[in-house]
């Protein structure tokens, strides 16, 4: 039973990332009708917002002293510039909290990147076939990841959570199991909670604000909303920025779970598209639901007990599930008739 609960927790945790990325993808597809293959790159750029802020905070400046290195050269002794401003203890605490601080840093950056991407490139492909959109956004994703690799290298970059959240806690004893039977990392629980808050915030924004109402109306009938004199294009541009920020925030908070590298966006891209299709094209709730379901399935398929009986199932379970769901519900879990259908 403890293994069952552990894998459910793992699944929810994985599903959080899938759901957040798929949510952004659905927002873009639902509003602009664009199949955005660069969305995984936005997740990666969010993670690199953390790396950038972390490197900025710990940027080293000369102290004026010189030390001899083991390889015989004389190098200046350095320390993070923030020590000089805030003192060593406070400065180190700020560096330690680089990941949470990156949330504030990444929101304007990612919205800016999203708006720039939409206005600078993607808007020119609105009326082009989906194949063209896929090609151009996939190309953009490759360009973005190569830029990141050029500046940050190909290896992973360690970006730990604040010291207070490193390690794990006894989740089992909280729910009445034996002590130490279900140990789960603090940060993964935080990631799951964060994703729930973010998903709720996006839904609330769309559901309870005038802006959201106009966007939802535009998703249903863009022409009519335009005829009412509303500049729907501008709102959709902002939605693209918001979707980019959601993907970016998913990336920011994911950095302590998997050390980021330039390729991390591609690792999530295909799965996220499967999540969107399984959830139902254009269905925000479907994207979230499918994210959690497929994440949980993937976790269970990775158990040794399952692998011994079905070798390799861990690598195909998501696609098998997608086939079964699409055969039984061709519009996906929560897809509705007429939505995103010609």
């Amino acid at each position: 039973m403890d293994q069952f609960i552990l894998q459910i927790l793992n699944g929810l945790d994985k599903g959080s990332a899938y759901a957040l990325i798929a949510l952004g993808l659905t927002l873009i597809f639902g509003t602009l009708g664009v199949v955005n293959f660069a969305h995984g790159a936005l997740f990666m750029l969010g993670a690199f917002c953390t790396v950038t802020l972390s490197r900025f905070l710990s940027f080293e400046v000369d102290t004026g002293e010189v030390m001899k290195t083991a390889w015989g050269t004389e190098n200046p002794v350095t320390e993070p510039w923030i020590y000089g401003t805030l003192g060593e203890v406070t400065g180190q605490t700020v560096i330690d909290w680089a990941v949470p601080l990156s949330i504030l840093f990444s929101i304007p950056v990612m919205i800016g990147i999203g708006v720039l991407m939409e206005r600078g490139l993607i808007k020119h492909f609105y009326k082009r076939p989906h194949a063209d959109q896929i090609l151009v956004t996939f190309g953009l994703a490759i360009v973005l990841q190569e830029i990141i690799k050029y500046y940050f290298g190909a290896n992973q970059i360690a970006t730990p959570a604040p010291a207070a959240f490193v390690g794990s806690f006894d989740f089992g004893s909280l729910i009445g199991f034996d002590a130490n039977s279900i140990i789960y990392p603090y940060w993964r629980i935080i990631y799951f909670c964060f994703s729930l808050v973010l998903i709720a915030a996006v839904f609330a924004f769309l559901q309870f604000t005038t802006f959201g109402m106009v966007v939802r109306a535009g998703m249903s009938d863009r022409e009519t909303v335009g005829l009412l004199g509303i500049n729907i294009d501008r709102r959709f541009t902002i939605m693209f920025g918001i979707a980019a920020a959601v993907a970016g925030l998913a990336g920011v908070m994911y950095t302590p779970i998997v050390s980021p590298n330039y390729h991390m966006g591609m690792d999530f891209l295909v799965i996220s598209f499967v999540v969107v299709v399984v959830g139902g094209m254009g269905s925000l709730g479907g994207a979230v639901l499918a994210g959690f379901i497929l994440g949980t399935l993937e976790s269970f398929a990775s158990m040794q007990f399952v692998l011994e009986r079905l070798p390799g199932i861990n690598q195909i379970v998501i696609y098998l599930a997608a086939i079964v769901i699409l055969l039984t519900r061709p519009r996906g879990l929560l897809g509705r008739k007429g939505v995103m259908e010609d």
Binding site: D2, Q3, L6, Q7, L9, N10, D13, K14, T69, A70, W71, G72, T73, N75, K149, G153, A154, N155, Q156, I157, A158, P160, V166, G167, S168, N180, S181, I183, Y184, P185, W187, R188, P256, I257, V258, S259, N261, H263, M264, D267, E298, S299, S302, M303, Q304, L307, N314, Q315
Partner: protein, 445 residues
């Protein structure tokens, strides 16, 4: 009535011309009529450095390329000479190789066997490279080694750790200085027994490809021989990034040691997951839970950050070694590039020097002569103590380092500390245990 004019002289003349015509392409292809492929001219010789310049191991490839450039500089008499002065052979004097200036071309393996073969082929056929070296993956090394065997070119392997490279896939034209999975297991086992005891239950997570299998087998064999029990061995997909599903069941499996047969990004991610799930601080079977990483690299340790602290593993070489060769190389590299070399850089630098030395001792670039000079060659002063290039499988036998993630590193390069230098005799094995045949040397002509 017709009459034929076939004469004995005419047949001989026609036969001679036709024979010469048929033989000409082979003759021209035979490397300047020297009897081997890509024989260099009198002024220069071209080496081919085939490293990952793009893809997941691009940083390791960049470090390898730095080392190759440094080796070329030293062979041509530039810089401070690095290990030329500490190398026991003393045949190299900084005037190139056999008086020819050393030039080089580079290829990008992309850490993909197909791409690596294509770039090696291009360097051999278009650039006339006389020797190919490099690689940061066993899959690439095995593929390029086979190509070099067919082309009649010497292959001096870079970073490749699988037993297969000089085991079942060994070739007469291929040589490896780097250590292998068997040696990692043999070196690690006594240290693990000394530190963690002989009554342990191990859980293996193994990268699902050739190198993972040989490493798991080596570590299992060595640890089981000293009394450990293997509770489970689970294959993990190479493309896996989040290992939580694989790590989460470990603590309740009855195991008290987790062995991560992972390299590169796999190792960084699986170790990060293991630490997140509290395995470093957990108790199992009344003992502290332990994690082991059979193959370490400094670049991997950097990616894993503080998670590597206190974790045992093995490595081919480390820049902090105190011997004169290691210090000379670290000084040269550090002065030129501003930071110390990785183990990948070290093995690539050493392989280039060993090739140049073998050519010099053989007095020829002929791959068969070079191979003969390398086979059974014993040397010292290149950073790993006395070393033997064993003739039977073209594998170097030398001391192996057991290292541990440093608790309080002084800088970003000071991540591993040497725990033990395992003597070569302890990691030496019978050349026949991994199967395979060297075959005969191919000079390419």
């Amino acid at each position: 009535m017709s009459k034929t004019n076939v004469t004995r002289r005419g047949v001989l003349k026609t036969g001679a011309v036709a024979g010469a015509g048929l033989a000409l392409p082979t003759y021209l292809a035979a490397g300047g009529h020297s009897g081997f492929a890509n024989a260099p001219g009198d002024s220069s010789v071209t080496l081919g450095f085939n490293v990952p310049q793009t893809g997941p191991y691009a940083d390791e490839g960049a470090d390898e390329l730095r080392a190759y450039e440094l080796a070329v500089e030293h062979l041509n008499g530039g810089g401070d000479g690095g290990m030329l002065s500490t190398f026991s052979s003393q045949e190299l004097s900084g005037n190139g190789i056999l008086g020819r200036k050393v030039e080089y071309v580079t290829g990008d393996t992309q850490t993909k066997p197909d791409a690596a073969r294509a770039s090696a082929r291009s360097m051999i056929e278009k650039d006339g490279a006389i020797m190919i070296t490099g690689g940061s993956s066993s899959g690439v090394a095995v593929a390029v080694q086979a190509l070099c065997q067919e082309a009649g070119i010497i292959f001096m392997a870079g970073l490749t750790h699988s037993n297969d490279t000089t085991g079942k896939d060994k070739k007469a034209n291929g040589f490896r200085h780097f250590f292998n999975s068997y040696m990692s297991g043999a070196a690690l086992a006594p240290i693990l027994a000394a530190n963690y005891g002989t009554s342990r239950k191990a859980y293996h997570l193994t990268a699902d490809y050739n190198w993972g299998y040989t490493t798991e087998e080596a570590v299992r064999t060595s640890t089981e021989a000293m009394g450990w029990e293997t509770v489970a061995a689970v294959k993990t997909p190479l493309a896996q990034t989040d290992f939580s599903s694989y790590v989460a069941p470990v603590l309740n499996s009855g195991a008290d040691v987790l062995v991560l047969n992972h390299y590169g990004g796999n190792m960084v991610n699986s170790l990060t997951s293991a630490v997140q799930f509290g395995l470093r601080t957990a108790q199992a079977n009344g003992q502290d839970f332990q994690i082991v990483v059979p193959l370490y690299s400094r670049l991997m340790a950097k990616g894993a950050g503080a998670n590597v602290k206190g974790i045992f593993g093995s490595t081919n070489w480390h820049w902090s070694l105190p011997d004169a060769g290691s210090q000379a190389f670290t000084r040269s590299f550090g002065t030129k590039y501003g930071f110390p070399p990785s183990q990948a850089a070290h093995t690539c630098y050493v392989q280039t020097l060993l090739y140049a030395d073998a050519v010099t001792r053989a007095g020829s670039f002929n791959p068969c002569a070079v191979g003969e000079a390398l086979e059974g060659f014993q040397f010292d002063g290149l950073g790993n103590g006395p070393t033997l290039y064993r003739a039977e499988d073209h594998q170097c036998f030398k001391d192996v380092l057991v290292v541990k993630g440093k608790e309080n590193p002084d800088n970003e390069f000071d991540l591993l500390e040497i725990v033990e230098v395992t003597p070569a005799a302890q990691v030496t094995y019978d050349a026949s245990i991994f199967g395979g045949e060297l075959g005969s040397c191919n000079p390419g002509a």
